[in-house]
Point group: C2
Chain length 886, copies 2
Amino acid sequence: MAKYVYFFGGGRADGGKDQKMLLGGKGAGLAEMTNIGIPVPPGFTISTEVCRYYYKNQEYPEGLNDEVETAIEKLEVIMGKEFGSTENPLLVSVRSGAPISMPGMMDTILNLGLNNETIRGLIKEMGDERAPYDAYRRFIQMFGSVVLKIKFKKFEEILQKKKDKNGVRYDTELSADDLKELIREYKNLVHKENREIPEDPREQLWMAVNVVFNSWNNKRAIEYRRLHKISDDLGTGVNVQAMVFGNVGPSSGTGVAFTRNPSTGEHKLYGEYLINAQGEDVVAGIRTPTPISELHYQMPEIYDEFSKIAKKLEEHYRDIQDIEFTIENKKLYILQTRSGKRTPTASVKVAFDMVQEGLITKDEALISVDPEKIKVLLHPQIDPNIKIKEDAKGLPASPGVAVGKIVFTPDDAVEFANKGEKVILVRDETSPDDIHGMAVSSGILTARGGMTSHAAVVARGMGKPCVCGCDAIKPDEEKKELLIGEKRLTENDTITIDGTTGNVYLASVPFITPKISKELELLLSWADEKRSLGVRANADDPESAKKAREFGAEGIGLCRTEHMFFGENRLPIMQEMIMADDEDKRKEALNKLLPFQRDDFIGIFKEMDNLPVTIRLLDPPLHEFLPRKEDLLIELTRLKTEGKNEKRQNEIERILHKLTILSEANPMLGHRGCRLGIVFPEISEMQTRAILEAACILAKEGRKPVPEIMVPLVGIAQEFDNQKKIIDETAKKVFSEQGIRVEYKVGTMIEVPRASLTANKIAENAEFFSFGTNDLTQTAFGFSRDDAERKFIPKYLADRLLKENPFEVLDQEGVGELVRMGVERGRKTRPDLKIGICGEHGGEPSSIKFCHDAGLDYVSCSPYRVPIARLASAQAVIKIKKETAE
Amino acid sequence: MAKYVYFFGGGRADGGKDQKMLLGGKGAGLAEMTNIGIPVPPGFTISTEVCRYYYKNQEYPEGLNDEVETAIEKLEVIMGKEFGSTENPLLVSVRSGAPISMPGMMDTILNLGLNNETIRGLIKEMGDERAPYDAYRRFIQMFGSVVLKIKFKKFEEILQKKKDKNGVRYDTELSADDLKELIREYKNLVHKENREIPEDPREQLWMAVNVVFNSWNNKRAIEYRRLHKISDDLGTGVNVQAMVFGNVGPSSGTGVAFTRNPSTGEHKLYGEYLINAQGEDVVAGIRTPTPISELHYQMPEIYDEFSKIAKKLEEHYRDIQDIEFTIENKKLYILQTRSGKRTPTASVKVAFDMVQEGLITKDEALISVDPEKIKVLLHPQIDPNIKIKEDAKGLPASPGVAVGKIVFTPDDAVEFANKGEKVILVRDETSPDDIHGMAVSSGILTARGGMTSHAAVVARGMGKPCVCGCDAIKPDEEKKELLIGEKRLTENDTITIDGTTGNVYLASVPFITPKISKELELLLSWADEKRSLGVRANADDPESAKKAREFGAEGIGLCRTEHMFFGENRLPIMQEMIMADDEDKRKEALNKLLPFQRDDFIGIFKEMDNLPVTIRLLDPPLHEFLPRKEDLLIELTRLKTEGKNEKRQNEIERILHKLTILSEANPMLGHRGCRLGIVFPEISEMQTRAILEAACILAKEGRKPVPEIMVPLVGIAQEFDNQKKIIDETAKKVFSEQGIRVEYKVGTMIEVPRASLTANKIAENAEFFSFGTNDLTQTAFGFSRDDAERKFIPKYLADRLLKENPFEVLDQEGVGELVRMGVERGRKTRPDLKIGICGEHGGEPSSIKFCHDAGLDYVSCSPYRVPIARLASAQAVIKIKKETAE
């Protein structure tokens, strides 16, 4: 037979902690606590099943009423009270409780059971008038607003008037008579609004139950679930529990405490309480609560009892607990316990400490820390003690905080930086021409462009904070001013950008640069023991490589080489190469670039000595290295209209002509990746030469560089073969010139669907694969990331056409299938094929789990994400173990 | 034991016609003819296996020499002559012969076996001096140039001097003494070049065999194979055959004839011959040959014998034959027979006639016609009798020929057209602003843009000839002149464009508009009986729909609606819609567009009464409907610099602002397709309304419109579901308003890889699929068609990284797998799912075969390709039957 109501009380409960799905978190917790002998006010839980039934059928299941009646009777027996009695009336609270906590989102009714008759019983019972009348007026206010939907403000206005009239500030200062008057006025309000509070407590109860179930689908609850990715189908339970009162005199009180400090993780009770108050008073913040340590002095026995209970609960749940309690006339009741929300710092410390205390296993410790959260332990962050509202919001393109003076051009950035100033480069959007300015800036802020815009990619590569696509700002390069709404800033103003959140502040905001704690370091070392996935970093220069190695990277999974073509000394040569009309001139320019790139690689190999460095050959289309067409057009039209500077006009026309030839309808799908190296083999040749000459030079010094050359954007096996031939032939030449051989591998990125589909053929000659899931997501969905994230993905997420942004969390259904297919087909040809991922998903925990499941050898992510990836990889192993066991 | 040499002669041959791969086409033909009693000079074939062995091992297989010796002995016996004899010397020809004919690409040596001694034997045998000396001097010239690599020109110079000295024009006018002198001079030349012609005939033979094998990999042969997609691995055979002489007097001769007229298909011998000549004289074109019909009068018995042989060969091979013959002293020899190359017209007529004659089956007739070739039977074409070189070449973007005066702007096009002039609109590239001009032009020529550029797509939709991306032309809109190299044309000059070939002529070139012949019509009706694939057309307006139905289309597989937003009356409203800041204003504009679209659909449904019309909802990104940013920028800069027209400046700034918001990094992967309808549901609603109101109106008139509404660019099942809901809800409203119901289907395009991967989910609600293989190719490869075809696909084809342009021929390995996957997964969910293809591949024969194999229900292609598709679909059935049988 179906069971809908679960009783708890008298030392026994129908349910237990494993029934969160059925009873909700709160209900399961109350049941569990009852079972283990915690003093919980008795009550019962109407299951989430009823909620789902209610939404499906618009009525309650048969038998529910009888079960509720039986539960009430049981409750009356245990409490020695009676629902609706004028002698010793039973009062109850009615609260929601979903399987996943949604704090404050749904409705609650307290003090239910009061009416014109039962109030008299309560007065008799309590031997006092004030507390009962206070309870009654609170009930009317709550029932009136929550159940009868009368505006809460209207009650508040009446209350405020009453306080004003009596010249008092706090509710507690109102006398019993004042409260009686207030109750009359409240009832008048309800009457005037054409509503009615039923006298029958049972009627009150069912109305309250209805309203709690209905609140599952109120607007803010739906929004909360959307934001926290909670299924709409779970439903909530309803908890009906005997009321206990913290507001019946100085021996009563109420409070909330954590078993450990949720901010630092320190192993010490942390919380606060109020004497002579109900729970809502603590939350409302009208009175200032007392720290829990004070209870030790105020009510030593209660403190002692509470400490023991706290310890018991923590040991029972093996996690930090967040406990609500009430003291009614020196008797302690526990109203709720739940896993304590904590800061990342605390999370790590608690996990570590609990292992030391023998409370949990290393596996449990590893699982208990959210990898995403430890991000803030690595990057500079706004001082969490500072409360300040951001002035504008953009995309969090590259994490970290930067404070500096505004500059509007890269040249200004260099000039200011040379004077020792910290600057933030503010641009409409950046272009390759801006690189030298970006390099000297503390951070970058742009008005346009998405998470893969030039600014974002370069900033992430440089490890600099960056906020992109902040459309509230209007930088004017000519006037050197920045408009944000009504505000106008100029070059000497200081701003702060937070690339972790996307926030922009028009002031200098204090920030802190956390250090990796000893606890985190050890936790990560446990993760390293556990994980089977390798973790590498995406790093393009020696500094990032160094940082990555410090963070525990086991090599570089993606070293982009395009940035090696930028820089003051290099860009002009690169442009010379692009403007060249024949192969000879192109080769001449490339020869000039060779020594620069070789030095870059020497620097990187040194930092990554003995570890593999996967170097991707030139990837972006060549026009990215030329000035912007729009700028040239404007300059040309101006010169023409004014009839000025014919020489410059000709020059611009020449560049424009080249730009027209190079311009592309869809650069993302255009002449880039290996397509460049195929049409201009001399580029691949030069890059291979730079890589292997660098490796040979170091090898002669006794170092051990491990180069892996990666051909980008292969979709046809022949493309790869073509490039591999160039690489191998160049290698042969270099080795013979240098008189030394260095081991190297040649592999490819899998970043277009056709590469996955034909992985068996590509693997015939490719020695490794690296999934470029950014581009693979773009091509599998047919989404241009820059455009999609700006134009329609927000709408898709809001309307739940997508559950996650596929550029942040790997789409396992579609893109994931291409990854699995690529792995399977690649390994069919070459069983020992080494396979990694170097898209941004390589640092995202759920995607890392997927990579583990799909049989990848390693993930590669930005240096700051390496610790996250180490932890997430370990979690993947633990979760699999658990899934398999189940 | 291995066998390398295949003898033919004396009425028996070792090989036969099915051994083309082993013996080459010529060798197999000679063997076959020998076997069926055709008078072929005897000889032997060294197999292609030897060629492959030779290339692999750089030497000949063991035993080859012995086999050749045995064959020579046999030949000597049959001919009653002896190799190297001074009495009756055996002379042979040494010719290449590959499995697939490569005419003129490889080397040939004739008259081999002659030297200072054997020449005397030949003189004795022939009883004449002139012919032997002529043969000897030809041999030296051929061996010297082909085998010894002495420049052919040097021999020709000596010959010319000799003729000049003797005051004669033709070789035949040189006397035996002249030839003797010539031979001496030739030998001096060879000596001077430090080469030597061996006296030993066997040495001559082996040198000649070597040179033929080597010629398999000469530059022109490689290039020919690349162009004709012939594998490099096949290799060639070498045919050594007893020489017969057509140049030994007036009773000798040589010629070539077809069993039917290869130009018209008429059933009558067609060819020509020369009396007293060798084969090369016919080819060389120095003397004018006589039509074969004359032979009837000149040598009636020979003519009679030849006619009988021709008939026998045609009946034997069941195909039109191209026969080479030689008459030596009134004896007829057949030197070669092969399938006759013919014009498309002839191809159709011959196939049809041969079925009537009972020579071949209908299946064979259908297979014998190349579907691609019948294209020219449908479109206007340059008069094939005109020999004229093109002045420039672009991409063949939309087939057909157009002649007209140049205009540079759409407004001029309208003005000229109103005066009754035929015009060609010449533009850098076209934009939506140009539509009204394109509509009145006879053809379109652009300097930029690829096969999917705006001009190309619109022109194909309109069925107008178009040449795109012709970068040799420089149109100057302001000066109204067109530069092609040094030439400068203006508005009144006439040009001709051929959209079938991409040719541009700076003159009026005569062209013809073929009619569909009765034979073709009947052939296509046989195809219809045979095929199981449906054939629909891509058509966007009533005219195209009508044309498509005439060509046999069984409905419309793709009706694009974006062109319905263009047009003088519509574009301003569309722009109003785009510039609207809120939904209400957008809806207002859409309401104004509704009647236009409804009328469009009424027109199309009328033409396609009773047949399905698949209508795709709006697909392109909205910015395509606004003016071009560059133009606006130039105008604005000019106005600003001059300080003029502030009102227009503001207006431009407003549009520029919108363009900035709408602009996309990669429009192909941007805010288009169903993403538009999801963000702006009112667009889908208006279009559905227009479609279904049109259908209801016609249904009330007793017609039977069959609308199928197609949601574009779906990659996530939820996208489709979102749009289907809007469509179904709108349908309900329309039917209730109109008081009538019309059956309609809602389906989707499968054009991004993720759609194929998740086809099972999409098919839950989608009632049909249509593969958009253009976009699927773009996303699977990560190729932007416009960019790829311009930038690197030509290089890929040249270097054989790709065998075919995947935008022309469906990539069966990659894209094809996505199609198969989509079909399989879609039908798993919905077994009766109707599936078609509407990418341009739907009209390409090998892709049609693939669609048949993959289990599609229909293909859809441009109206002019419908007959091609009908034929190709029938061929697919026949080929499958054949493959299964094998």
